[in-house]
Amino acid sequence: MKNPLHSLLLFLALCGLAAAPLRAQPPASGAPESMVSPDPEAHSEDDGHDHGSDEEAAEDIQPELGGEFTLLPEDLGRPSKGLNPRDVRAFGAVAVLHDGRIKPLETLARHLLLQWSGHDAYQGTPALAIFAQIVFAPEKTGDLKLFRIDNPEVAEALGITAEKKRRYSYRQIEPGLTKLQALSQRADSIEEAKRNLVEKEVLRTFGNVATYLNLTRSLQFALPSASLVIAVPETRNVLGLPGLAEGGPTVSFWELMERAPMMAQILDGIHEGGGEYSPVENEIVRLSRAMYLQSQTGMASPLRILPNPDQPGTWLSPSEVVATPGLMQRLNAEIGALAAMTSAYRAGDAAAFEARASALNASVRRLAAAEMEKTRFPLEILKNRVNPLFVSTVLFWISLFTGFLFFLFRHGGAASRWTYRITWTLSGLALFFLTAAIVARVLIMRRPPVTSLFETFPFVAAVSIAVALFLERRSRQGVALLSASLLGTLLLSIANRYAADGDTMQMLVAVLNSNFWLSTHVICITVGYAACALSGAIAHIRLVRGAWSPVPTPEQRASLREVDRMVYGTLCFGLLFSFIGTVLGGIWADQSWGRFWGWDPKENGALLIVIWCAILLHARHWGVIRETGVAAGAVLGAVIVSLAWQGVNLLNVGLHSYGFTSGAALKLFGYIGAEILFLLVVWLVTEIRKHKRPPEIS
């Protein structure tokens, strides 16, 4: 295959020459390319290599917004047929470096859409298909309602009439973009902790729209361009392009690049001949100049899918590669494959698209063999498709429902038996999916199961539910089973809310990086949380039952005693693991900082749990409190767990404050209030019922 490789550099130099005398002229009107600085020198070559942090990059790639221009073309001159969601699957397996981790594009597509809209699919279309459309046929995505703006004040500030679903399209936001940029700059200058909800929403929205716009331009070199219009039919003949009727007036940068030798020849002729330009020559000069400008507009985009051959470990977006002739030459095959994928997508040719995507994949795997070896793409894609965490959540919700039915039909023979079995099976299945989700993460990230605040929720849920199901096997009363469903729905619902923030599989800061003490410390602490949470959950049911029959029959008494034993046992379990977790945290701190105990809020939280459990066990031992007291104590224990687990993050001090989330404070206080109210109501009901019914004589 004769590739214009060696002439690429020469050609671009010629393009620069051809552009030189024209530079003083105003740029072609209306085209999106004219937005960028018309002086090509303004973009030094280093720009393409600049890889700051993602935050930095996010600032780098914030487009310059000009009010009158549209940043997203409505028409590229050649319509796109597009592909079915099923046909773009091969695109999902393309590797991308994002947030410091190499992941399949599928994951990125899902998390971006989740971050933008709150859903990981758009009206039934999978995220990947939307992502493919944004990249390959951006002109068609302007009206998709992708951006969620919760705060009506923000929507109003942008001149958008607030809608019920709170999701808006780019075209709706576009008229207010300049204002949005100004607002976000102001919000950005405020210290993070001091930003209010509106400011946070402004920053989030602007970041999302900027990312979207950057994505629409990441394959610009392969898209037909409004600045590359061929009006003279003869030019098409000379360059061997399809006729106007077949293709449309516009061509892409890459289509011309593939014809670089021919264009170079013509340009050469002009420079030697001098005199008047022929219409074809004139057009070629104009095209060359537009190409040069376009090649220089490469901006960093989140689509970092090409390994940098010069700097192993860094990855580039296609536009950065195209902006640097040396890189374009080295990654010619990959860029070519992307261009061919674009054409295939726009032509609706599924087979060609898949073949080119596979070729790109194979070639990237070769270029970054060492890095790709550490990934587990098939597993990650499977996990994305199945979404075991979500499946598990749904199963828990159903099991909660059937669990309540069981308690209604408790003495109803077949109905009771069946609801019990169904609840049991559903909970077991849910636990299976939950475990699968945790194991998949461990395998993909190659690190212990709990390393971030998000990961504590599925893990605590899994442990407490496993213990609950074990207890249920032994007691067969349905109490532990219902507790499992309760905890499952509650904890996983919280986890799913965290997952909406984007990719939850993030890299770790140095101090949290894999360390034996750290992983064991965190696991033990979370097992302690799990035990105390379970103890609290069982205690709730115990208290309700106790209040219902304050003067129990002997049969009820035996059953209650069994439940009391569970509450007590899980408390002991919680004390043991909270203690060992706290101590392991101390060992880790001693190994890392030289102090066993530093009064860090999270350490203090764990210590609170230990002390509270110790108080309960001693008080029970001395007979200061009885069964009901222990159960009430276990409910308060769950409150202390919530403080240690969540409340500490609200303080925003100390080494552990990695999980700050706003609005959580209100929910936490709401929870604590509800528990106190619960205990009060239980106490009142017990008292009232006790006085109504005189004690039976036994």
Partner: protein, 379 residues
């Protein structure tokens, strides 16, 4: 099994009073509250201040209501533990777990006490190529007086605890002494143009006046100041001013010799030294999230020298000192690496004691858990 004297002592009313469950439960509950409110207080006032307030023997809530501080509560609980173990806890195998747990707890408290009293935390910052012979305190200060002989400094130092007004610091072997006039734990210093170059104090940086300030939230951020009267025989007394943030020492001529004075963070000399060869920071690709910090140092002791790598979670331990990679700075002068340095004679006690508590609990709970499994399996 249980000796007579123990049985007798256990029944003694004093023992019963000391070990009253209400005391233990109230103590634990107070500890719970102290930790909870201490954590909240820390968020607003900083760790040093929170420790000062909550670790005392009494806390005055709203200035009037006394509440026991952590030290008092921990002493009471420790005494209870000791009494309980000496006289009351039955010497039977069934209680073996409890013996180990409570023994471990007592040891843990003793270890905490030793650490509180004897551990020293300091730091050492080195530029690449620099050699360090001492570590520096975070929040403790000293007045250092020295002369330079060839490459070495001969240092005489007074620690900040000694700097009470009226205290006399004898500068022997030089014929001079200092009498402390004022010492501020935290102060702001000002230069002045009003005096027309005539300064009221002898001072190296042209400071004309000093005002006391409220201590900072984090004690290491304090900048102390000292004003002292310098008495040299046969010359009129003069006042000198030393300020913690001064970069230059005050130079005096005493007995015909050039002597330097400085108020500086306390230095702890080492009998070995470290040279920083290289500091390396690695980031996760495409982000500015650090993956690791590593310092390559040479450890010199006497005539021997060996290379050591110090990085996150992997400190250098030598002669009772532990050096941790704590921080770094990169500026135009190059790369600096900061080590946190700790000496703690009680370092191993928490390891042993918490292993005891854990083992004891495990023993106790396993015995009970097996009972539960046996009971429920029989159904």
């Amino acid at each position: 099994m249980n000796p007579k004297w123990r049985q007798k002592a256990a029944r003694h009313p004093v023992t019963k009073a000391v070990l009253h469950p209400a005391i233990t439960l109230a103590g634990l509950l107070m500890l719970l509250l102290l930790i909870f409110f201490g954590t909240l207080y820390q968020a607003d006032h900083g760790l040093y201040e929170a420790q000062r307030v909550f670790f005392g023997y009494l806390i005055w809530v709203a200035g009037v209501v006394p509440f026991p501080g952590s030290s008092l509560v921990l002493w009471v609980l420790s005494i209870q533990l000791a009494v309980m173990m000496t006289f009351v806890l039955p010497l039977v195998w069934k209680k073996a777990g409890l013996w180990v747990v409570h023994g471990g707890l007592l040891l843990l408290l003793v270890g905490g006490f030793i650490t509180q009293m004897m551990a020293v935390e300091s730091q050492m910052t080195l530029a690449e190529g620099e050699t360090g012979h001492y570590t520096m305190a975070y929040d403790k200060w000293e007045v250092a007086v020295w002369r330079q002989i060839a490459d070495t400094n001969e240092v005489l130092a007074y620690v900040d605890e000694d700097l009470q007004p009226g205290a006399v610091l004898d500068l022997a072997p030089w014929p001079a002494r200092l009498t402390v006039v004022k010492y501020h734990e935290n102060a702001a210093a000002f230069t002045s143009t009003v005096t027309g170059g005539v300064l009221p104090y002898l001072n190296a940086s042209g400071i004309a006046s000093m005002e006391p300030r409220k201590p900072e939230k984090e004690a290491p951020q304090n900048a102390p100041g000292l004003i002292a009267k310098l008495s040299v025989p046969n010359t009129p007394d003069r006042e000198i001013l030393l300020y913690g943030l001064e970069s230059r020492p005050l130079a005096l001529t005493l007995g015909g010799e050039r002597v330097l004075l400085q108020l500086r963070r306390r230095h702890y000399p080492l009998d070995f030294s470290l040279t920083l060869k290289d500091f390396i920071r690695t980031l996760h690709p495409g982000t500015d999230v650090a993956r690791s910090y590593e310092s390559y140092v040479d450890l010199h002791d006497g005539l021997s020298s060996r290379p050591v790598k110090v990085w996150m979670n992997n400190p250098l331990r030598y002669k009772g000192y532990t050096f941790f990679q704590a921080s770094f700075a990169i500026d135009q002068e190059g790369e600096h690496s900061t080590f946190a340095v700790v000496t703690n004679p009680g370092r191993l006690i928490p390891y042993i004691s918490s292993l005891m508590v854990f083992g004891g609990m495990l023993l106790h709970f396993i015995l009970h858990f097996l009972g539960y499994v046996r009971r429920t399996a029989r159904k």
